[in-house]
């Protein structure tokens, strides 16, 4: 990479903790700490993991009527959100393909969004064209921490009693050890947990407070990927692309009845037709029968010997203690239980289509 990598406000802390860094979306990010990906993954499912996701884009829409303008870019029901409610949705193109997936929260004075690091530049162009430059604020100086795992709520509550009673996919302003933060009960691991948006210059102090709790350890992007894969959650660029629709991706649940009927977003006719007729391919879970992991781009072979699809995310699931994958297969092969084969380095390996997730979601009620 010729361009100099950016650093998050926690870079020095990661280095102090012994992180191994990798370039990710233009940032120098911790892929793992000395414990390693396997232990960090298990730690998150058993206690709590603290992730630095400050590379993600934090964007605010400040225009009056921004919800209606945003609804022209996403199929999610933004108008229906009450203050403090958040929703998962995606920017679509004219073919109904996904340009990015994102979290949207309505707040008292604005609409707050978290978008992928690798897409944020294009997302900002899209938003500014739709809402006008004056009404799209990119909070580049803010940090974003994720505290995930069954121990997350207890650990956070010791420094932020204000989180008591915060429900899943709800968000509020909360003081954490004296720092005012915007905290949502959400995440990318399948576990209960929080995402904490706060000023960059306060991030290290808050991270140290949380790391001081007995349940909590620092967890890198490596385990973040294996955790989300076991949880059956999409990674933009792998499982979602401009050539894949939300319907093919199994994300029809993110589109409300009103929005399905009224449309009014890019690619709405195609998405409507796919909801009515069923898509010709679908995202499914894939469980290799043996021990060999099947990585992204592995060809999926159907019962009659023809290629029926491709793995889009695959690797080793530490909680499953074996290989796990997801990918797209033709409609006829998408039923759970369908026996398939995977072409790994020229050899056929038995596998089956399975229901996602691989590890049950344990979100807060």
């Amino acid at each position: 990479m010729s361009q100099e990598l950016k650093q998050t406000p926690l870079h020095a802390l990661h280095a102090e903790l012994g992180a191994k860094f990798v370039p990710f979306a233009g940032y120098d990010m911790p892929v793992q700490y000395p414990a390693g990906i396997l232990k960090e993954h298990i730690q998150t499912r058993a206690g709590a993991g603290l992730f630095d996701v400050s590379h993600m884009g934090q964007v605010r829409l400040t225009a009056p009527g921004a919800d209606a303008a945003l609804e022209r870019l996403v199929p999610g029901d933004i108008a229906a959100l009450s203050p403090g409610e958040m929703r998962y949705t995606m920017f679509t193109n004219d073919r109904g393909g996904v340009l990015d997936d994102l979290m949207v929260t309505r707040r008292a004075g604005d609409i707050f969004m978290v978008v992928n690091a690798g897409c944020k530049t294009e997302d900002l162009v899209l938003l500014r064209a739709a809402l006008g430059d004056a009404h799209v604020e990119y909070d580049e100086d803010r940090a974003l921490l994720a505290l995930q795992g069954p121990g997350a709520a207890a650990a956070l509550a010791r420094h932020a009693p204000g989180i008591a009673g915060l429900g899943f996919m709800k968000a509020a302003t909360v003081a954490i050890g004296g720092t005012e933060a915007w905290v949502s009960r959400s995440g990318y691991t399948g576990e209960d947990g929080f995402e904490i948006s706060l000023p960059g210059d306060a991030a290290e102090a808050v991270a140290r407070l949380l790391l001081g709790e007995p349940e909590v350890a620092a967890v890198g992007l490596g385990a973040r990927d294996s955790l989300r894969l076991e949880a059956g959650l999409c990674l933009y660029g792998n499982d979602l692309t401009p050539d894949i629709t939300p319907i093919e991706a199994g994300l029809t649940w993110t589109i409300s009845k009103r929005r399905r009927e009224a449309g009014g977003f890019r690619g709405d006719a195609i998405i409507k037709a796919q909801i009515a007729d069923g898509p010709s391919r679908r995202r499914v879970g894939i469980k290799p029968a043996g021990r060999a992991p099947a990585r992204a781009h592995t060809a999926v072979v159907g019962p009659d010997g023809a290629v029926v699809g491709e793995i889009t995310s695959g690797g080793f699931g530490p909680s499953v203690d074996g290989p796990v994958a997801m990918g797209y297969v033709t409609r006829g092969c998408a039923k759970a239980g369908t026996e398939i084969e995977l072409d790994i380095r020229g050899k056929r390996h038995a596998a089956a289509v399975v229901k996602l997730p691989f590890t049950p979601h344990r979100y807060a009620k």
Binding site: I37, R291, A292, R295
Partner: protein, 125 residues
């Protein structure tokens, strides 16, 4: 004392009599992180120096392992099937990958000694 040589791709080879044992270096396992699967060569197969012989999979990615020398595979480390983490715990001993009969023992002379390899690693960033 047995002679251990290293490649620039971080494989090691130890010659004992006519038999060479091959694995990946301590540095390589450290770089890979947690090893979760190893695809070993087939016993009886002929491999060439620098040719693909095995694949080591960490949680993050798959990496090729090249044979440091030419010859025939005579044994593979079956323990790695159930316990791939042996490579992390003992890369240059219990975590060996395969044994082979050399077709050209002189090839070993072209590989780095332990001292050369140490200097080579210090030159890497």
């Amino acid at each position: 004392m047995s002679d251990v040589r290293f490649t620039k791709d971080h494989e090691w080879v130890r010659l004992e009599g006519d038999t060479a044992t091959i694995g990946i270096s301590e540095y390589a396992q450290e770089q890979l992180g947690d090893v979760v699967f190893i695809e070993l060569p087939t016993v009886g197969a002929d491999v060439e120096a620098g040719g693909d012989a095995a694949v080591v999979e960490s949680v993050k990615a798959a990496s090729e392992v090249y044979s440091p020398v030419s010859g025939r595979i005579i044994e593979v480390n079956d323990d790695l099937e159930a316990t791939p983490g042996l490579v992390n715990e003992s890369a240059e001993d219990e975590g060996w990958f395969w044994r082979m009969e050399l077709s050209d023992p002189d090839e070993l002379e072209e590989l780095m000694t332990a001292k050369d390899y140490k200097a080579f690693l210090e030159g890497l960033d």
